[in-house]
């Protein structure tokens, strides 16, 4: 056993124990803020696993997207809601927990069975290392072009939806979305686009 191999093994053990214990804590902790911060830690540890697999671009993208965007968004949402409010106790919490626990352990057993019975091709294909960035780019613009573009259209739709939800002052009766109409609709106090009245 040489130094490089043992270093890799130690890193793998540390990272995977962080991932397993961290994700268990995300689910099991009562405090929602702790869960959100731990989720960030789990995402970073997954990034570390990618780094261990010589996929540095994927690791950096993982950090950028999941830690820098998704987790920050979750934290923003949590911190902007009022956490002083007492939540009502949910009925039948024990049975719910039992059912979800059973489903999760069933999934775990299934995954374990698959990973044990499959004949893995060890050692796998050789990693391409630093070339990976170019290869990912090539694939995204040739054989994976359609899914890539569809994903961007989905994101665009989500963005427009978020803008519509956030700007409730845009009235139904204003047929143009110009600034003049918006200001007029603010002063006129017409029916908002998305309110309880408009949905009736």
């Amino acid at each position: 056993m040489n130094i490089a191999y043992s270093t890799e093994l130690i890193c793998f053990l540390i990272l995977s124990s962080i991932i397993v214990s961290g994700s268990l804590a995300v689910v099991l902790l009562e405090n929602i803020v702790y869960s959100a911060f731990l989720l960030g830690g789990v995402f970073m540890a997954v990034g570390g696993l990618y780094l261990l697999l010589n996929a540095s671009f994927v690791a950096a993208a993982q950090i950028l997207v999941y830690v820098g965007a998704v987790n920050v968004l979750i934290l923003f949402a949590i911190m902007l809601v009022n956490n002083k409010e007492k939540l009502e106790p949910i009925k039948g919490l024990k049975t719910r927990r039992f059912i979800s626990g059973a489903v999760c352990s069933g999934l775990l057993i299934l995954l374990l069975r698959v990973s044990i019975t499959t004949k893995w091709n060890i050692p796998g294909p050789k990693s391409i290392g630093e070339e990976a960035t170019e290869r990912i780019g090539e694939h995204l613009f040739t054989d994976y072009l359609l899914p890539f573009e569809l994903a961007s259209i989905l994101l665009l739709m989500a963005m427009i939806g978020a803008i519509v939800l956030a700007r409730r002052d845009i009235s139904i009766t204003s047929n143009k979305l110009g600034d003049f109409n918006n200001e007029k609709s603010l002063s006129d106090n017409k029916i908002p686009l998305l309110s309880e009245n408009s949905l009736k």
Partner: protein, 372 residues
């Protein structure tokens, strides 16, 4: 292209001659550049703090620190020592763990980003292939630390300050990344070494600032906003608001925020010089100069002089930019929060998208000058 001085190779060869294995030699080498860069980052911060005090004094027609050492150069040390021995206060009912982890999460990504700052052909910790992208990814961790310290202080002003700082950091990261993308497109590589090498073909005329003037301004504005420097120091806004996410912090934990801010400023200045001002390149091409005086570029003496000149050039360019940042801080008024967000989302974002588009079309039409 000459490879220049390779300290790592000489070190590992030297250690191997002592009878150690190649792997062990490599393992012994790894901490050395890290320690060196960490020490130089901290020294860089001390110099910046001293410059800040002196330049602010000059801008306000004062003398500034004078008694601590010649011209007050020991003043930043005294500041650091004071923060070190101050009592570490954790507010009552604050979240103990998150309160401690917050400042660490702000500081560590900034220090890790020094991994990719090159001072010469082989004078950097690691020439990772994803280079500049690593810096963008790492700097996106910082908002989590800000939110964490704001939340855990058990103070509504801290919480609001944390949200404000995170929002500013997120919104200026996008034009920053787009400005970097235009550079990456021109040099066909994410690696900082390749970006600098591509700029050093014809002295200062081939620097990226001439090909990317708009990108340079976008990058500089966004870097100032990311460092929370004045025109954009809204998270702190010392004369107007309660001091933001760091309100409840004292002693060494406050010093970590302070240190992170200044290390980030020096790092941003270094990266501007790497991306736009030719990095370690001398304004006149060294190859051309050495052929002029008739000395081979592979001469060891020329190599040593070129390497030290490279370090001096990188630091000089970076500190010129730091000087500019300090001058801006003490001469410009602060923007309002709505102006800040308008500038980020309605001005810089569209401009940087147009810049990217123009760069792409120029690259297609003039592949020789814009890196085809």
């Amino acid at each position: 292209m000459n490879s220049g001085i390779d300290l790592e190779m000489s070190f590992t060869e030297g250690v191997q001659n002592l009878g150690l294995s190649h792997e062990l030699a490599h393992l012994l080498w790894i901490p050395l550049p890290m320690l060196l860069v960490l020490v130089s980052a901290v020294i860089g911060v001390l110099v910046t703090v001293w410059l800040e005090r002196k330049i602010s004094a000059a801008a306000q027609q004062r003398i500034g620190p004078e008694y601590a050492g010649a011209l007050g150069i020991l003043q930043p040390m005294a500041d650091g020592l004071k923060l070190l021995v101050k009592e570490d206060i954790i507010p009552a009912r604050a979240d103990n763990v998150l309160f401690t982890v917050g400042p660490i999460l702000v500081l560590v990504p900034v220090i890790l980003s020094w991994l990719i700052v090159p001072f010469g052909q082989n004078l950097l910790i690691s020439n990772v292939g994803i280079g500049i992208f690593l810096w963008i990814a790492l700097s996106s961790i910082q908002p989590i630390g800000l939110l964490m310290s704001g939340y855990s202080s058990n103070n509504k002003y801290s919480l609001l300050g944390g949200l404000r700082a995170a929002a500013q950091s997120i919104s200026y990261e996008i034009p920053l990344a787009l400005a970097v993308l235009a550079i990456v497109m021109m040099s066909n590589s994410l690696s900082t070494i390749d970006i600098v090498n591509q700029q050093n073909t014809a002295g200062f005329l081939s620097w990226n600032i001439w090909r990317q003037p708009v990108g340079f301004i976008i990058f500089w504005i966004c870097a100032l906003a990311e460092c929370e420097r004045l025109p954009f120091d809204l998270p702190e806004a010392e004369e107007e608001l309660v001091a933001g996410y760091q309100t409840e912090y004292a002693g060494m934990k406050f010093a970590l925020f302070y240190l992170a801010g200044y290390i980030n400023l020096v790092l941003s200045a270094l990266l501007v010089s790497v991306l736009y001002l030719g990095g370690w390149g001398f304004p006149i091409s060294i190859d051309w100069f050495s052929s002029l005086i008739g000395v081979s570029i592979d001469n060891p003496l020329v190599q040593v002089i070129a390497a030290s000149l490279g370090i001096v050039m990188t630091v000089l360019k970076a500190y010129l930019l730091v000087f500019l940042a300090i001058l801006l801080r003490w001469t410009t008024p602060r923007v309002r929060i709505d102006q800040l967000l308008d500038l980020g989302w309605k001005f810089l974002l569209p401009i940087s998208l147009v810049n990217l588009l123009v760069t792409a079309s120029l690259k297609l039409t003039f592949p020789i000058t814009f890196g085809g």
